[in-house]
């Protein structure tokens, strides 16, 4: 654990310096997207890896955060910070409204409800196209920053803060109880833990960071759009990044996000084939090393 943290800090320090070394804005932009996806994937891992709940709708939380912030800016012209706060709050509230009834159900229903929620959100955005921009997307007048480098540092800071907090939570007694709830719910309850309570809070934390990252992403890209933030495909990307990197590690999903976003860019010249190649690579890794990239490293050591 200690050794992993040291490696993580070194890697972060190196990545954090890269945009200052005169690389192109394009490289800085790719790194920025990696940071956002890393936050999505880490947040998802808290639920799947620790609480044992498969949330098929990470893009519901991301989308509510994004559109909450975007609408606040486009319609009311509020300061960016306030818009981001509104988006984040909307994601947490929306997420909890969904999770509290859903987490009481057993079996695959939680996953199905989260999936349906994504479709509902997508339909709402299209039905109220007059306000939300519908399929075209919602342009926002404000941006995080003009400079690509500054934008990167916003995203980078978010990733470090979210990662630090999630690691702290995952390794606390709270994380221990959460893992017990995920792995043997009957025993966890017989040990005196109200497991629904822990799962709901975990979902709230996950919703907070997903929504926050979604809201900031809007002001980085300049638009909120279904294809970039709400579509089921976005959720699948987040899930693949987390599983690819290694479940129940928090750090692993960052690697997964870097791989997924990075590979997508490297393979861009391949055109339509790029998506296929990335998906095939991900499938290969998941089938060969189900514990993910980080799990592979750990497994070898043990």
């Amino acid at each position: 654990m200690k050794k992993q943290l040291i490696i993580a800090v070194i890697v972060l320090a190196v990545v954090g310096i890269v945009p200052l070394t005169g690389v192109s804005d394009y490289i800085t932009g790719v790194l920025t997207m990696i940071c956002f996806y890393a936050v999505f994937a880490m947040s998802w891992d808290l639920l799947f890896g620790y609480a044992g709940e498969v949330n098929f709708g990470p893009s519901f939380l991301i989308g509510v955060g994004a559109y909450g912030a975007g609408l606040a800016d486009a319609n009311y012209g509020l300061p960016v910070v306030v818009c981001i706060a509104i988006g984040t709050l909307a994601a947490v509230v929306g997420g909890l409204l969904l999770a509290i009834p859903a987490l009481r159900l057993r079996g695959p229903y939680f996953g199905l409800i989260t999936l349906v929620a994504v479709l509902l959100l997508q339909d709402m955005i299209e039905i109220f196209a007059g306000t939300t921009g519908g399929e075209i997307g919602l342009s926002v007048p404000d941006v995080l920053a003009v400079s690509a480098t500054v934008n990167f540092y916003y995203a980078f800071a978010l990733m470090v803060a979210a990662g630090g907090f999630l690691l702290l939570v995952a390794n606390s007694p709270f994380g221990l109880i959460l893992q017990a709830s995920g792995q043997d719910p009957v025993e966890a309850q017989a040990l005196g833990f109200n497991i629904v309570k822990y799962k709901v809070v975990a979902f709230g934390i996950s919703a907070f960071f997903s929504g926050l990252a979604g809201a900031m992403l809007v002001f980085y890209l300049g638009t909120a759009s279904v294809s970039a933030m709400v579509d089921v495909a976005v959720g699948i990307q987040v899930i693949i990044a987390a599983v690819l990197g290694g479940r129940r590690t928090i750090i692993g999903p960052v690697l997964g996000a870097a791989f997924l976003v990075g590979a997508g860019e490297v393979l861009r010249p391949a055109g339509q084939m790029s998506g296929f190649i990335v998906a095939a690579l991900a499938l290969g890794v998941i089938m060969l090393v189900p514990d993910g990239l980080l799990g592979m490293v750990r497994g070898r050591r043990a």
Partner: protein, 502 residues
Amino acid sequence: MSVALDISAGTLPETAPAVLEVRGLTKRYGGLVAAKNVSFDVRAGEILGLIGPNGSGKSTVMKMIMGIEKPNAGEVRLNGVNLAGKPAYKVARAGIGIVFQHSRPLHRQTVLQNILLGLLPDRLTALRAGHEAVAKAKAIAERVGLSAVLDRLPATLPFADLRRMELAKAIARNPQVVLVDEPFAGLTGGEVKDFSDLIVSFRDEGRAVLLVDHNVKSVAAMVDRVLALYLGETIAEGSAAEVMCNETVRRVYLGGGISTHERPEAVFAHTEPVLQVENLSVFYGKAQALDSVNLLLHPGEFVSVVGLNGAGKTTLFNAISGLVPYTGKIFWQGAPLAGKTPARIARDGLVQCPETRELFGEMSVAENIALGGQHLPKPERLSRRDWLFSLFPILEARAGQIARTLSGGEQQMLAIARSLMMKPKLLILDEPTLGLAPVILSQLSDAMKLLRDQTDITILLGEQNVTFALPNADRVYVLEHARIIWEGSPTRFAKEMASGYL
């Protein structure tokens, strides 16, 4: 016998107040009554043994006390406060702890952290476990004998140590009542002694202990009183000796009397064995479920494997059917079975009728039977079905009924009929009597006799019910703690072994 023992076993519990009072506890699953009006007390400083054969409802009662299952009626009072129907975490906090037979420890956490889990408060804000909790976890670990392995991961521990960890977690919250589910399953002789001592020490420090097990024998040495359940109802209560002498208990475990009708050995002496099992061993993770088992079946022979729950019967059958990995050799009609898929093995005529029955609950009786005979040409399928209807007339009467709605006995008959549709050369029956009433047992037994006398099907029957296993058997194997410990004729079994099955 020492005076001190007399006091701990008899005098103290009479005067101590009842900590746990169970009153009229009832649980129904659809049409099945798993527990019916069960009532008992457990006093502080007392061990009550709750015994009963498989399907008697003892685990259901334990789960209802813990809040894992909700009772349909009845009360569970802890110090006079009714907890029935409350969720498990509230029951746990009120002062009841449970030692599960099977559990999944946290694999990435050390033994110490696993025990610590049991000591954490049910609060969201605890970001660090206090030194006090860590010290307490260490003390508990020392008490159950885990001091040497505190920093190891569960996956590296032997089976007995994993069970010790479960004991440690269960007492972490200092419960007044401890429920223990089959404490000795899978343990060796020396480990059984350690665990008995630990459980007795829980009693001696004033806890009320409820021990759930299959038979009186295994817990007789440590319990103060015993309550026997059968088909969800209390059939006897008293000291271990009293319960063992009880007429009803004797009838449930041994039946009205054992009858044996083996055919002479000479009938099979010169035939080639149809199934040979050599040196078969099976491991589930750390636990050894079968240890160097050897077994032989002659064509047309009826062989019973007798053993208590957890002895390894189902594992043996699953290994033969190709469902679990094993070491050793299994030959079917002279050829090794290794490497064949379960489906291939079944098509070769080696058919298992599993303990769990595995009926298609939403299909009718006729459809379930028809599915078993899918591979047969239609005329043969129909004639075979008619033969089965003559074997189990009740199935013909229920042909259009949905399988899920049948009674337990009818479901068992349907499961056997479906297996027979597959034209088995060897039929493996795993505990067909599970949870069935005596009247059904005699009908099933008659069907067994017909199968033995009128067909050339070889039958391998796994049973803990000795009365059912013996009458039709030509030979008997006794399986105990993963090993075959005895083999012989039913008549010899009745003389030498039967008393061990109370």
